[in-house]
Symmetry: C2
Subunit: 229 residues, 2 copies
Amino acid sequence: MLNSYSSADKVLLAVDCIIFGFDNEGLKILLIQRDFEPEKGKWSLIGGFLKRDEVLDAAATRILNTYTGLNDIYMEQLYAYSEIDRDPVERTISVSYFALINIENHNAELIKNYHAEWFPINDAPNLIFDHNEMVENAIKRLRYKTSIKPIGFELLPEKFTMRQLLELYEAILSKELDKRNFISKINSLEILNKLDEKDMQSSRKGSYLYTFNKEKYEEKLLNNFVLNL
Amino acid sequence: MLNSYSSADKVLLAVDCIIFGFDNEGLKILLIQRDFEPEKGKWSLIGGFLKRDEVLDAAATRILNTYTGLNDIYMEQLYAYSEIDRDPVERTISVSYFALINIENHNAELIKNYHAEWFPINDAPNLIFDHNEMVENAIKRLRYKTSIKPIGFELLPEKFTMRQLLELYEAILSKELDKRNFISKINSLEILNKLDEKDMQSSRKGSYLYTFNKEKYEEKLLNNFVLNL
DNA sequence: GTATTAAGTGTAAAATTGACATTAATAATT
DNA sequence: AATTATTAATGTCAATTTTACACTTAATAC
């Protein structure tokens, strides 16, 4: 019998989250030092097991909330990893998710208690199991997705400067962008609100703050608009 | 204890394949009429359960081989579907794969024996469970992927005409393309071999046959070449 | 009031895309 | 042998998009 439920093998299903953050130092990921065996003490993605009554998205959300205290976070399912011995304890298939969070909003104390820490994506420790591969793939997907959808704003504070936006894109794409060309491209999209307010931290002159205009973006989406950065 | 293997719930893991084919009638998918409960007699994607000692890619390959007799098929993992009651019998997470096959090569008899059948993507029956959603997402991914990687050739015979290639892209993107612009774009990529041979089926004049030059493509890949169709 | 610092702005050349119509080659028909 | 019918093959120009590039402005610190 080719398809019989009863004879099929059951497996553990895990969720691992690649949590991206961005601050003035660049693009970072949140890693945790495992406090249980195997690989106790080693760095790992934040993860957990799927529960019987839970969908994968919910598991990812729950896990993220547990470790950061955050809700309503942008998440996206990436890929299912299934190498036989990827987890030495027991056959476990892991589904990776990436999350984009505003690094200033997370619960710093909670993270500390869990021995979690932010690492620059280019200067992160070696990770357990196949987590390095998961991160690599997540970065690729982040690059692709930010270039076609305005998800980059999830990584910025509500109000941001053009410089911050530029540096975010430079960090994600890991290449330098021409300031003038970038700004005129962004302006041509007409999906930002320019505020009257200025950020006075970075310069004497001060630079205007912007917010992402989600309504305008969604209105444009209806007319086959594609972000193309 | 947040992460304990022993307390975690195990689930069934299935693989469902969206098998694309292409012939002179257009883009098609291979569906099967289920011969077991639940939903016996209804149309379904071709699928099966993951075995204990098997990685997902291998399960997908095995399932494809079982129903079509084909090996060495282009496959790509798509997404894990995990709605609680997506399968009414038992909690089952399904990982979808898409496969691209040359419709002329498959084992027609095998397919017939399994009550499988090719359907035009725009004229396929309603499917069981969440399989309609899987197909929709697979088509989106196929569109994306064919526009950046030369995987479309997997759907064509070894030797093909420019017209076939054009019609394939039109079918996948489901829009008309300008013949002259398409051909000059393709030629500018320099990844095809133009043969001396002509196909005489379609016209009196006959049209030149081409093959995909994989070596040349991979050579170009090294120089940041991107297909952009 | 002068110096300092990052913000803000425009133009021209190059490359790409998109629209569009005629000629060429061959087999079938007479 | 000439004509017809059918699809294959080919090129140009305008519009748009992308890329490269440098000076002025605003505000504060001294």
